[in-house]
Amino acid sequence: MLTVEQNEELTRVGPGRPMGDLLRRYWYPIAFEQDFDATPSKTVRLLGEDWTLYKTPSGRYGIIAEHCPHRRASLTYGVVHPDGIRCGYHGWKFGFDGQCLEQPAETESSNFRDRVRAKAGRAEPLGGMVWVYVGPEPAPLLPRFDVYVLDGVRDIGYTTLPCNWLQIMENAVDPHHVEWLHGYYFEFLGQIGGFEAPKSFQKKHVKVAFDEFEFGIIKRRVLEGHSDEDDDWKIGHPLVFPYCMRVGGMWVDQMQIRVPIDDTHTWKLFYTLHHPEAGTWERQDRPVVYEFPWRRDDGTLITDYVEGQDIMAWVSQGPIVDRSTEHLGRSDAGVALLRKLFKENMQLVRDGGDPLGTVRTPHEIIELPCERDKFGAGTAFTDQWIKGGSMRYAPIRDELLALHRDAAQARARAAAGG
C-alpha cells in the first residue's frame, strides 16, 4: 500500500503537480477530425485544464487555453483565422503559439499586446483523431504507432469514465484479473443470464512476467495447456507508457487509450484496426466513431461484455483509488512495477531529461510487439472479441465480422491450394 502523500503524487494531473509535469511531456488524442465538420472550434479538457481546440480553413489545428487573457471569455466562441483565433468578446487575436497579435480597442501604437501571451500547445491529426501536446518546448514528435497508420478498417469506441486514469492503467499490468473477471465472473453471469460466455478467458495463468522496454512494459503470460513457445509468452503485448495498452489477435489490433481529462475523469477509447491477411476492404476516409454504453439508465453497470466488466472494476474502485487502504499480493508485482516507472520518470523530468517513450527521431511507423494467436484460440477469438466486447456496439459490427470470416476462408482456400 502507499501513503496518502504517495497516492496524491501519483494521481494528481493538474499543472504544477509532479505527475502533471510528467504527463504534459506526451501527445494525447483529444477529439475526432469529424468533430470539426460542422464547427471550427470546440472546448476540450485535458490534464485538469480547459482548452479551445480549433481548425483553420486550410485544415491546420491549434490549441489554446480556453479563457481569453483579457477578461476570461471563452475563445471557443471566437473567430477562427488562418493564422490563429480571435476572441468573440473584444476581438483580441492570438497566434498558434498563444502570442497576442491584435487588440482592436487599444491604440495602434500601444505595445500592450506584446506583453500578453495565452497558454498554447501544438495540435496535429493522426489516424482520424486530433492530437495535442501542451507541454514545454521543444515538443517531441507525435509517435506514429502502427495502429494509427497501417492500412485497414478502423472503428473507435469511446466514452468518458468518472475515475482517475491511473487505476485503469494498473489494470493493464494485472493479468490475473482476466481469468477471474472475464472468465469466472463472465461464466457466472452467463449461467444466471442464460447466455454462453466466451471460454477463451477461462484458462488459468501458469507463469507471468513483465519486461521494461523503450515504450513501457511488455506483459507475458503462459496459460494452462500452453508453453513458452506460444505468442502470449514469446511476444506478449505492451503497456504503452503512460496512458495506453496495445492488444491484438488474428489481425485485430487495438490501442486502448486512457486520456487523463482531470483527476477524476478519463476519456476512454478503444481504437481498433482490422486488417486480416487475405482480407479485402474499401479504403476508409475516416474511422467509424461511436459512443458505447457502460451504465444503464437506472445507474447499474453493464457487465455482460468484456470491457463493461473492466469498467465496473475501475469505476467501482472510486473516483481516485485510495491506495493507502489496499492490500497487494505477489500477483500485483506488475502494479508495483508500473508505480515505480511513474516515480522514476517524474524524477527524470524534474532532472531535465526526456521521459520514457519520448520520440524525437523522424519516422514513418513505430511497430509494437503484440500476440497474433491469442490464448491459443485461433480465428474463433476474432468473433468472440467483436461480439463479446465493446465492438458489439459498433455501427459496422456485422461488416467487421464478415471481413474477418471472409478473410479466414480465403486463407483456408489458399492453404488448400485453391
Binding site: L2, L328, G329, V335, A336, L337, K340, K343, E344
Partner: protein, 48 residues
C-alpha cells in the same frame, strides 16, 4: 544497494502468505527488488 534514504524512491508493500514484502526502488542507484521483513532473525542450519 547504496544505502541512500528512500524518500525519493518507492516502497510498495505486499503480502505473500504470512510474509510481508516491500518492493523497493532506490532513486539514487536505481536498485529494485524485494525487501522482506524479518519476524525473527534466524539462520537455517539445514545445509549442514
Amino acid at each position: 544497494m547504496c544505502g541512500a534514504a528512500l524518500e525519493r524512491g518507492m516502497v510498495c508493500e505486499s503480502w505473500s502468505g504470512a510474509q510481508r514484502n516491500f518492493m523497493t526502488w532506490c532513486a539514487a542507484c536505481s536498485w529494485m527488488g524485494d525487501v522482506v521483513r524479518y519476524d525473527r532473525v534466524a539462520i537455517s542450519e539445514q545445509h549442514r
